[in-house]
């Protein structure tokens, strides 16, 4: 709790007055309303040990990190391909939202509810510039996708160009953010994705002698789900 200087502290034998009491609480209300200033916060004010006492922002995070440049120096387009990282996620073509591996957060919201900022960011990966990823990202709250903030287009002609990295793959960073208001209770925040590319049907093409067949799916590399709640 920051410093507060009520006009009058409430003392025994004082006549109770609604206005006096309101003024006594006003510094606290000001603070909870975001009227914070330099004297409430300062650089390095929050130490790990103090967070339990001086909490102002509660955060949650889930993430997977994939370094596409490791190993072969070439982006691995699919399982079985050399240099493939097990944390890379397949995103097969489907109109149905698919949960993103490892990006789910179950939270308990106390009395009074919570307003939370949820950010889902990831590196989408395609096979080539012409077969680049054509994904939509979304955030699902308790099984329902927040439609207003879906990012990514179903128009394949407008995506997938550029962002080359490595010899064969395409990396396109994407991000989606939602402000969600949650009631008291348990809630599940899940990052979801879907892929509309008609040619990415799980077909294969040759990768040259000795290499496993390519599946021309889109994939997802590094990805992260961040929850930020303003709390007291």
């Amino acid at each position: 709790m920051s410093w507060r200087h009520p006009e009058r502290t409430l003392k025994d034998d004082s006549a109770i007055d609604a206005e006096d009491t309101n003024r006594a609480f006003k510094p606290f209300v000001d603070e909870l309303s975001g009227r914070l200033n330099e004297h409430n916060f300062a650089a390095n004010a929050f130490q790990d040990d103090d967070l339990a006492d001086d909490l102002a922002i509660r955060t949650g995070q889930e993430g997977v990190y994939v370094d596409a440049r490791e190993g072969t120096g070439s982006l691995a387009p699919g399982p079985g391909y050399w240099g493939y990282d097990a944390d890379i996620m397949d995103v097969p073509t489907s109109a149905v939202w698919a949960p993103v591996d490892d990006l789910v957060k179950v939270i308990e919201v106390p009395d009074g509810g919570a307003m939370m900022e949820v950010t889902f960011s990831c590196q989408t990966m395609g096979y080539s510039h012409s077969d680049g990823p054509h994904m939509q990202l979304g955030i699902e709250v308790d099984g329902t996708v927040v439609e207003e903030i879906v990012n990514g287009s179903t128009d394949i002609s407008s995506e997938g160009q550029g962002f080359w990295l490595g010899g064969a793959g395409v990396l396109v960073p994407m991000q989606v953010t939602a402000i969600v208001e949650l009631g008291e209770g348990t809630h599940t925040i899940q990052a979801v994705v879907r892929n509309f590319h008609p040619e990415q049907q799980g077909g294969s093409s040759s990768t040259g002698s000795g290499a496993p067949p390519l599946r021309r799916f889109s994939h997802m590399g590094s990805r992260e789900l961040i929850l930020m709640e303003r709390a007291r």
Partner: protein, 732 residues
């Protein structure tokens, strides 16, 4: 006879006007940095002499002067860092702040959009932007640059293409670009730089030149001279004084202009470029150097200096010719035609005693010792052009105060008041005399009431000004103003409270060396006083939503000795309760003083109060002009339920904190009525009558006092007339 809160005259002490129009006892003060349970004890360790709050951008900054150090508060870390001070305090910037306690102008702060100006009388001013602190402007002059030009002995050669300065000799060279150094370590300029740009050219008028040769192309370069100077630029845009002019650099007359000699038929080839070396590096917060140069002194028609732009087009980020404080050589290929901005000629920044922001400029007074007033360039608070000064008082009296108003800048000496206004074209400032008999003796006593009236402390008391002649408003408290310690009254400090809209001025009284009594003017002719803070050497009002009035000095917790600190008035924190014992006092004034030749007898007093606490007032009676109570505490035994003086009405008692139960109820056993506890407003009520005793008196006065929470709404006094008339004795 009815006395409302705004009409009780003789004394109102430690009472504060409420929004409802009543007077309520003051509460607090609270330490700005509260001592919470379990936290380490913090001690200021020296006199806290001044305090200032400002909002710079989105940052709040709280500064305090403690002893000979300037501190900045560090928010939640519950600590202060030393911005200015002696080396032993590990300051951000080492500085000497006088702290000998002698009566002198108080330390003053002014906030600007870029930062805070800190005026410390006796030493130089400083500027703090929330991150960097440095001296305000410059108090020294740069050295002049050294000039380099083409070698005139070789004037028959090309002075242009292929001519360059070398970093080795700092000299000029000529010769075409070859990619190789010549024998003198000279290296021709690369063709990509094009032609040189300096020099005045003219059409050749004759057919034969002076040496008999032909000039088939018809171009000549005239002899020319140029000088330059250096000027420092600090991180806030302030300019230093100009350096003295450099020696001149010149070029000779050239008329043998042939294509063979110059490898081109362009007349531009006759032009030259020059170089300036030993460009002085600046002190402190210098971030750039401005190179100033004349145009061709022989042909341009002006000897003025102009700013050399850093590149051909200027640009938004071009704040100086050299945007660094490292290099000392500048190859100058800037033609005269690009010299558009005339150079400023600031004066060095001297120490000053008083300052005020007005018309986008900083006005300062008493530079060094004389009564001169200077003003800065707009927005450049540490740049004072040499020509921008005035002596408001022709007799040269020292300036004792400055204050910006919507009508102009008020400037005081001890005995005069002047006003400085801006001319219609905004380029000049005009001074006019407001009063030749009223001055100001305390520069920090000046404040503007919400009504726009300016109030300050002069020799004879407090004065108010609303655009006409200053009016003395403190005649009614002359006995009090006579107790001011005139030797130290220059230390008086004042501010206007945002909530009560009161003017509060702390002055040293009864021989005190530091301000120890707060005199309050409510803007309607009424004076009050308070002594809840024992010593107040500095005061400010926070410029954020809190609107705290913060003081620097001493306050006292009951049972402890007074301690130094930064205090929030009219607020409380649990760790500093109860405050020092003090009475909130209201006196009625002398009743019947205009008919004191007719004796009368005070018989009762009815007090209109607002219920505050489960306690009782004390009341005293004075008679016949003597401030010795003839009847201390008129009220009878506190256990008497019917006695007067209770701070709530016994017939309709309010709920009290500590005994009332939230969501509870109370039961009146006599009426057998149960009342649910609900939130209410504290109600006004009439106290039971106080007994005046009925003693004979020429005039009399009641005093109500309480050491605690007490809210006053007025009194009615009743008396019996004892005098005789032509028709006999009457009572009324």
């Amino acid at each position: 006879m009815w006395f409302k809160p705004d009409a009780v005259g003789d004394l109102v002490s430690n009472m504060r006007a409420t929004a409802e129009g009543t007077l309520r006892s003051v509460n607090g003060p609270a330490p700005y940095q509260p001592q919470y349970e379990g936290a380490a004890t913090f001690s200021y360790g020296d006199e806290v002499r001044s305090v200032y709050h400002a909002r710079v951008g989105y940052r709040d900054i709280l500064l305090a002067v403690v002893g000979d150090e300037l501190w900045e508060h560090q928010g939640w870390t519950r600590s202060w860092r030393v911005l200015l001070g002696p080396a032993s305090s590990s300051p951000v910037l080492e500085a000497s702040i006088p702290s000998d306690g002698r009566p002198r102008h108080p330390i003053q702060f002014e906030s600007t959009p870029q930062g805070i100006i800190i005026c410390i009388p006796g030493t130089r001013p400083y500027f703090y932007d929330g991150e960097h602190i440095g001296a305000l402007g410059y108090d020294q002059v740069p050295g002049s640059p050294q000039a380099h030009g083409p070698r005139s002995t070789q004037s028959d050669k090309s002075q242009n293409w292929g001519y360059v300065h070398t970093g080795v000799s700092g000299d000029a060279a000529d010769g075409a670009w070859s990619g190789e150094w010549d024998a003198e370590d000279h290296h021709g300029m690369h063709p990509m730089f094009g032609y040189c740009r300096i020099g005045t050219l003219e059409q050749f008028q004759g057919t034969k030149n002076t040496t008999g040769g032909a000039n088939p192309l018809g171009g000549t370069r005239l002899k020319g001279t140029w000088r330059a100077a250096t000027q420092w630029v600090d991180r806030w845009g302030n300019r230093s004084p100009r350096s003295p002019s450099s020696e001149q650099v010149s070029c000779e007359y050239v008329e043998n202009y042939t294509k063979e000699a110059f490898s081109t038929d362009r007349v531009d080839a006759l032009r030259i470029q020059v170089a300036w070396s030993r460009i002085a590096k600046g002190p402190g917060q210098t971030v750039g150097r401005m190179l100033l140069r004349t145009k061709d002194q022989l042909h341009s028609g002006t000897l003025k200096m102009f700013e050399v732009p850093p590149n051909a087009a200027g640009g938004t980020s071009a704040f100086s010719t050299l945007p660094d404080n490292i290099t000392d050589l500048y190859p100058d290929n800037t033609p005269d035609a690009w010299l558009l901005v005339e150079a400023t000629d600031p004066e060095i920044v001297r120490s000053f005693d008083v300052m005020a922001l007005f018309a986008g400029r900083l006005f300062v007074g008493n530079l060094n010792v004389d009564g001169r007033v200077m003003w800065s360039e707009p927005g450049l608070w540490g740049t004072f052009d040499k020509a921008n000064f005035v002596y408001p008082d022709p007799s040269g009296m020292r300036v004792t105060g400055m204050h910006a108003t919507d009508k102009g800048l008020l400037v005081w000496t001890e005995d005069n008041t002047f006003i400085v206004t801006q001319s219609d074209d905004g380029q000049r400032f005009l001074t006019a005399l407001v009063s030749s008999r009223v001055g100001c003796v305390a520069p920090r006593s000046v404040a503007t009431l919400p009504s726009g009236v300016v109030v300050w402390l002069g020799h004879e008391g407090f004065y108010a000004w609303d655009g006409g002649e200053p009016i003395r408003i403190s005649a009614g408290i002359k006995l009090l103003t006579d107790t001011f310690n005139q030797g130290h009254v220059i230390k008086a400090v004042a501010a206007v409270d945002q909530l009560s809209e009161e003017y509060r001025c702390w002055v040293p009284v009864d021989g005190a060396r530091d301000p120890n009594l707060c005199i309050i003017f409510d803007g309607d002719g009424n004076w009050r006083r308070r002594d809840d803070a024992q010593v107040v050497r500095g005061v400010c009002v926070t410029k954020d939503h809190r609107r705290y009035m913060i003081t620097a000095g001493q306050a006292q917790k009951s049972g402890s000795s007074a301690e130094e600190g930064v205090w929030v008035l009219d607020h409380e924190t649990p760790g500093f309760l109860p405050p020092s014992s003090r009475y909130a006092v209201v006196r009625t004034g002398w009743v019947g003083n205009s008919r004191s030749h007719k004796e009368k007898a005070p018989i009762k007093l009815l007090a209109a109060l607002v219920e505050t606490t489960n306690g009782r007032l004390e009341a005293d009676l004075y008679v016949n002009w003597r401030l010795v109570s003839v009847s201390n505490n008129l009220l009878v035994d506190a256990d008497d339920e019917e006695a007067a003086g209770w701070l709530y009405t016994r017939k309709d008692a309010p709920l009290f904190w500590g005994t009332a139960v939230y969501d509870g109820s109370s039961h009146d056993s006599q009426l057998d009525v149960t009342t649910t506890h609900t939130w209410q407003r504290r109600r006004p009520f009439w106290s039971n009558p106080l007994d005046g005793g009925g003693r004979d008196a020429e005039t009399y006065m009641y005093q109500l006092r309480h050491n605690g929470d007490f809210e006053f709404d007025g009194v009615i006094v009743g008396e019996v007339f004892r005098g005789y008339t032509s028709t006999g004795r009457k009572s009324r």
